[in-house]
């Protein structure tokens, strides 16, 4: 693909009277790690949600592989997310009543994959990410770092082309954070997936290839001079 895998133009989003995004433009290239940075409340998570089709913008366009996902209905957007995107959030968001293997297999089961194949894939991804021995544990028995690794396995089990990670290391200590980033960056290197990393932490942003800063809902180009 020559053009960007994901792009937005003139993106606008408000909550009540408060603008969260004010005309954001962005191109994301396949296989890159892009960090979206900015202070708390700057609009970076809202941008991620709009890019991933979790929220609809009030104005502007979001295009994924040539398709305007902001114009899709809820069902179609859910399918795009389920098949093409993976998500890692700050606290893992694992389902507490399911085992680790069941959590990781969940996206495949929801998409109609048979149980045997889904659990085989889940086990393979957990092995690959170095937590294969945790398959039968419940999320409550895991450390923060282990939970996030399981969340990464769940985000990748259906082999998406893009992973959206929103403050994935926000709840981790420095070493666990470093280990998780190594896993994510290693996966980008080995699979060619595209990673969008939302973070307020410059040490996390330093793992990216490119950074976009957002402040008060407006993107700023770090090298531009006005």
């Amino acid at each position: 693909m020559n053009g960007p895998i994901l792009a937005c133009r003139r993106l606008e989003k408000s909550f009540e009277q408060t603008p969260a995004l004010r005309g954001v433009d962005l191109d994301v290239r396949q296989g890159e790690i892009l960090a979206i940075t900015g202070p708390s409340g700057s609009g970076k998570s809202t941008l991620l949600h709009c890019l991933a089709g979790i929220q609809l913008p009030d104005g502007g366009e979001v295009t994924y592989q040539g398709t305007r996902i902001d114009q899709l209905g809820q069902r179609e957007r859910t399918l795009v997310r389920r098949r093409h995107f993976g998500f890692v959030f700050q606290f893992g968001s694992l389902v507490p009543d399911l085992t680790v293997a069941e959590n990781v297999a969940l996206p495949l089961l929801l998409d109609g994959t048979d149980r045997r194949s889904a659990f085989a894939s889940a086990g393979a991804w957990l092995d690959r990410i170095g937590v294969g021995d945790l398959v039968d544990r419940s999320p409550a028995e895991l450390s923060g770092g282990q939970r996030q690794r399981v969340a990464v396995a769940r985000a990748l089990v259906h082999e998406p082309s893009m992973v959206f990670a929103d403050e994935p290391t926000g709840a981790l200590d420095s070493l666990s954070s470093e280990a998780l980033l190594e896993v994510l960056v290693g996966l980008v290197d080995s699979t060619g997936l595209t990673l969008i990393l939302v973070t307020h932490d410059p040490r996390v942003a330093a793992y990216s290839m490119r950074e976009m800063t957002i402040r008060d809902g407006v993107s700023t180009s770090p090298t531009s001079r006005t």
Binding site: R203, P222, T226
Partner: protein, 169 residues
């Protein structure tokens, strides 16, 4: 820095020292002799020029103003990010204050500085990923220092309006 203060408004040496002491009270002490020798050098280089002589009860005072070349030199200094290195904060602070004093927007400088810092952090992160434990520990130390600068840059960007009110009055 002194050139930036002349860029704010023409001044004689004693007034420049007062301005420096007021805006950078915790900076390196500046002696009046240094002010005059620096003004002499700036005049020789065509960056400031003699604009008159102030006469009052005391001795005559030479009034210096910025030249076009001096104004450009100040702009170049203000908008050029500093190479990321330890103990940079006094220079970054000085550039922000001089920008405000001379009615320039310091935010583009802070953004450019942030980008340069992050580039260096990327290099150090790559060194960590490919190096041994020694490299990791050395990179960690540098990364924490750069992170502190970056956090200061973020906060300074958020405080520009308040700082402008305080500096410019």
């Amino acid at each position: 820095m002194l050139l930036g203060l002349v860029d704010q408004s023409p001044a004689h040496g004693y007034r420049l020292k007062q301005s420096y002491d007021r805006h950078f009270p915790r900076g390196r002490p500046l002696h009046i002799g240094q002010v005059y020798s620096t003004l002499g050098r700036l005049e020789r280089d065509g960056l400031v020029r003699l604009e008159g002589v102030e006469q009052d009860a005391g001795p005559d005072r030479k009034l210096y103003g910025i030249t076009g070349q001096g104004h450009e030199e100040t702009s170049a200094w203000l908008f050029t990010p500093e190479p990321p290195a330890p103990h940079l904060q006094p220079v970054l602070y000085a550039k922000v204050v001089v920008s405000l004093l001379t009615s320039r927007d310091p935010v583009p400088f802070l953004d450019a500085q942030r980008a340069l810092h992050l580039d260096r952090m990327r290099e150090l992160t790559a060194m960590k990923r490919s190096g041994g434990l020694g490299d990791k520990l050395l990179a960690d130390h540098a990364l924490f220092h750069l992170e502190a600068d970056l956090r200061w840059i973020e906060l300074a960007s958020d405080r520009i309006a308040a700082l402008a009110a305080e500096v410019v009055g």
